[in-house]
């Protein structure tokens, strides 16, 4: 039995350590440790609810929009504020733009380097690369120029961010030509994620950390100039997703098809739901609320009152098994010990079960709920990969990746509708964007989705000030350590059964970790 440690886990948001036990080339046990504590919830106590909108975004610089929205929704629930429909559309568009930004950045910048061998791209034949791109139905680029740029770079002897990468690792399976296509699109993706982020900046002032979705609605008022900028950028990003991102996914997947056989995880999935329609009913969101338990493909209704956070294996001395609405966070470091306390992440459980959150959870719930566009996207993809009618195959490493990429296209298409709805509302002259409130007391929760999964902010307001604040983030769910009963968290469970060719370079384990977009 060997132990492999990845510390730091790179290409993620924040700080993470992963330790796995490997027996005969397969992972048999795993410990996931969050290694940073900053104390956001404590800092927010005593401040104005609207201040939490700004400050709580700083939990995550990759998904600040979602934190801002969850915080604002918690305040609105606590203070009884109903936002106008114009604000709903503005928030959906901003949230959608973050989703596109985040998923593009995740696939190309964060996870692709686990599958794409940059150095191998140097030996690609340029004519064959164009032929392969055409066959795969993905967009072409100046492949010769890209190869030349990489060649100059590698020959310069300074590999910058590519230093010590897993080039030539036995788990790298792509032909040189596909590697070159992926590298060319890696560079394009850097432009596309920025363009998606510009949509947020137009409406929210800047990204990351936007400024406008205050409790009550939005401070941004649409202007023709900004609407034009939004529509133009949305169109370009949406088309790139359809013509490059999705075909790339389908071209790469067959080389890693064995990844459909492991990385399954705990089999419980939670989605609080995201993107409201005019009814503000969470079950009618574009990505609806729901949960799946024990791998049984049916959608149940999650009850937030049944969420508890355990701290037996986390460095806190505050009480365990509290519902986040009454949650407490008091840090107390002991030592790193996988048999005792080993993480700054608490262990949230719903109905006493660990829950996987993220695009796979959302897309499974939407699929089983019969959302037509999602059903069509998933069924078409399963057919293209030769596994028609088998959605259960999505519960795997490969499925977790496919779900995120397909969700990108679905959200992009929905965004187009929200933009046109907003334009129509403004044309009609009826659009309202803000509701004033003088309420000063109440408790509320904002249950929403970040690109990487279910997100809840919980606020208690007394006399216009925050009396208690708690956030349960997607990473809290997915990176959870063991709970009081010793049950592993979702990522820990997903690592079990992962093949490892080289314990010194556990690239395959890194793939599982990255599939959660931590």
């Amino acid at each position: 039995v060997a132990r492999a440690v990845i510390d730091p886990v790179t290409r993620i948001e924040g700080h993470l350590r992963v330790e796995v036990e490997v027996e005969s080339g397969v992972v048999t046990d795993a410990w996931v440790s969050g290694t940073l504590y900053r104390g956001m919830e404590t800092i927010l106590e005593g401040r104005a609810p609207a201040d939490a909108f700004y400050v709580s975004q700083r939990i995550c610089g990759v998904c600040p929009i979602s934190h801002g929205h969850a915080s604002t929704m918690a305040s609105e629930a606590a203070l009884g504020i109903q936002i106008p429909d114009g604000a709903r559309l503005v928030r959906n568009i901003i949230e959608g733009a973050e989703t596109l930004h985040s998923h593009i950045l995740w696939f190309y910048t964060l996870t692709a380097l686990d599958y794409v061998d940059v150095v191998s791209a140097l030996s690609a034949n340029i004519a064959d690369t164009y032929a392969l791109a055409e066959k795969a139905g993905t967009s072409t680029a100046d492949f010769g120029q890209v190869q030349k740029r990489i060649k100059t770079f590698v020959e310069g002897g300074q590999l910058s961010i590519f230093t010590n990468g897993y080039w030539g690792h036995s788990a790298m399976k792509l032909p040189a030509e596909l590697n070159l296509i992926a590298v060319a699109h890696y560079l394009e993706a850097l432009e596309m994620q920025a363009e998606a982020a510009q949509i947020i900046a137009l409406m929210g002032g800047k990204f990351p950390h936007f400024m406008t979705s205050l409790p009550g609605g939005t401070a941004w008022m649409p202007t023709e100039e900004k609407l034009g900028g939004i529509l133009f950028r949305w169109k370009r990003v949406r088309d790139w997703i359809a013509n490059t991102f999705i075909p790339d996914t389908l071209a790469i997947a067959p080389f890693y098809i064995e990844a459909a056989t492991y990385g399954k995880g705990c089999g419980n999935f939670l989605s609080w739901g995201c993107f409201d329609d005019a009814s503000f009913d969470p079950k009618k969101r574009a990505l609806p609320r729901g949960m799946i338990v024990g791998g049984k493909l049916e959608v149940l209704a999650p009850d937030v009152a049944q969420v508890k956070e355990y701290v037996e294996h986390a460095w806190y001395d505050s009480p365990t098994a509290l519902n986040p609405a009454q949650g407490k966070t008091h840090a107390k470091f002991t030592t790193y010990d996988t048999n005792d306390k080993y993480s700054w992440v608490k262990a949230p459980r719903l109905n006493e079960l660990p829950m996987e959150v993220g695009p796979l959870s959302r897309m499974l719930v939407a699929y089983l709920d019969g959302v037509p566009q999602v059903k069509e996207l998933i069924d078409t993809t399963l057919a293209a990969l030769g596994v028609a009618g088998k959605p259960e195959i999505l519960v795997s490493l490969l499925g977790r990746i496919a779900a995120r990429n397909l969700e990108t296209l679905y959200v992009a298409d929905e965004m187009g509708k929200w933009i046109m709805e907003l334009v129509a509302a403004i044309k009609g002259g009826e659009a309202k964007f803000f509701t004033e409130s003088t309420a000063t007391d109440g408790d509320g929760a904002g249950l929403w989705e970040a690109p990487r999964g279910a997100l809840g902010h919980f606020i208690s307001v007394k006399g216009g000030k925050i009396a208690n604040y708690q956030a349960v983030t997607p990473s809290t769910w997915d990176l959870s350590p063991r709970d009081a009963a010793g049950v592993r968290g979702p990522m820990e469970e997903a690592l079990i059964g992962c093949p490892i060719a080289d314990v010194e370079k556990p690239l395959e384990a890194l793939r599982i970790v990255h599939s959660f977009d931590p």
Binding site: R11, A48, D51, C60, L113, F153, T163, Q193, F207
Partner: protein
């Protein structure tokens, strides 16, 4: 092309397929950054010298949200690919580097051993629980910082967290957050120059400006090039308030304010002072440089500035939607009429004392400027 034959940074870029035209575009963006006319681009280009190889850099993630890395990925010209492939050799940067775990740590150790690198620090120095509120590769974040900082040619603290602890150090500072400069003496790297680039997150154009200063203008050999203020911030970026350069300033002078969100006054782009704008006390050039490749900036999209570039910004600037405290009894509805510009001028330096002391406890009022003394317009 062998490295030894490269004459300067332009040759270096040319060898990497960057055209003369693109190179001048870089120089133009630097000129704009520094508040100069784009006409200054050729002069900057002419100042180019050195640059036989890519400048090595280590980017350290401390107690962070990754927002400053995200923000850097939004840089326009040069973009992030230009920066990591053509300008710097960033041998360690957790968020985007290919290697992980031991392979990543090796890359960092080798760079530190060779020396001469720029250390870019993102995130708060975590001192709580004996430094264990941040652990990387089995060490505390403070130990990791100490190792990397002591042999750096210069340190660039990016974002308010690295500058002074940012939001993490806000009262009651439960995790012991501090800025890089705050621990320099304790950790033994107080001889290494520190360049501070506040705001939350950092504006990537400022990082680009500093990088260009280092690569083109030889700032590592001659720190005066950076023209830093007493807080280690480049004066050309952090020398004027947002209020000084705000496109809505005219409405402030005229006493025309947004009094509530979602109203016609916002459509008219009136001044946001009355809904809490901290522009008068915040020293950054946001209105000129803007954000996300000049797509917009906070005030342009209807939000009051929250002063994220100020020291201890959460404690000093919240509640964000309230009018600034301690401004000598100024009521915005009277600005531009009775009190006119003199009171407005008093606001201009409100933030100076907050900056220096790290706490907003009121500020002395500057003598009024001539251009502020005009009579206000109609409402």
């Amino acid at each position: 092309m062998a490295q030894e034959t490269r004459e300067g940074i332009y040759d270096l870029l040319a060898a990497r397929g960057v055209s003369r035209r693109d190179f001048l575009k870089y120089c133009g963006s630097v000129a704009a950054m520094l508040g100069l006319s784009e006409m200054a681009a050729p002069a900057i280009a002419a100042a180019v010298e050195g640059g036989a190889k890519l400048q090595p850099a280590v980017w350290l993630d401390l107690g962070l949200c990754t927002g400053c890395t995200e923000s850097t990925a939004q840089a326009g010209n040069p973009n992030v690919a230009d920066i990591v492939l053509d300008l710097l050799s960033i041998n360690y940067m957790e968020t985007i580097m290919a290697a992980a775990g031991n392979q990543a740590e090796e890359a960092k150790a080798k760079t530190i051993e060779e020396g001469g690198y720029i250390l870019i620090v993102e995130g708060t120095v975590m001192t709580g629980e004996a430094g264990n509120t941040l652990r990387i590769a089995g060490k505390t974040g403070m130990e990791v910082l100490k190792e990397a900082a002591s042999k750096a040619a210069a340190i660039v603290a990016v974002g308010s967290c690295a500058v002074d602890g940012g939001w993490v150090r806000a009262n009651p500072n439960p995790a012991g957050g501090k800025g890089v400069k705050d621990v320099a003496a304790e950790l033994g790297f107080d001889k290494v120059p520190i360049i501070n680039l506040p705001t939350c997150p950092v504006n990537p154009e400022w990082i680009v400006a500093v990088v260009i200063d280092v690569l083109m203008l030889g700032a590592l050999e001659n720190l005066a090039v950076l023209n830093l203020d007493e807080l280690g911030r480049p004066k050309l970026i952090f020398g004027q308030t947002i209020h000084d350069n705000c496109p809505r300033r005219g409405h402030f002078e005229n006493g025309e304010f947004v009094k509530a969100f979602g109203t016609v006054e916002e459509v008219k782009q009136f001044c946001l002072y009355e809904v809490g704008c901290k522009g008068p006390q915040t020293f950054t050039n946001c209105p000129k440089v803007r954000w996300n490749r000049k797509a917009s900036w906070c005030v342009e999209s209807g939000s009051p500035c929250i002063g994220c570039g100020n020291l201890n910004w959460v404690d000093n600037d919240a509640p964000f939607l309230k009018r600034m405290p301690n401004v000598g009894g100024v009521r915005p509805e009277t600005i531009g009429t009775v009190l006119g510009g003199a009171a407005a001028a008093g606001l201009l330096v409100h933030g100076v004392a907050s900056f220096s002391s790290g706490r907003a406890k009121g500020a002395p009022v500057e003598t009024s400027k001539a251009y502020d003394k005009k009579k206000g317009g109609d409402k």
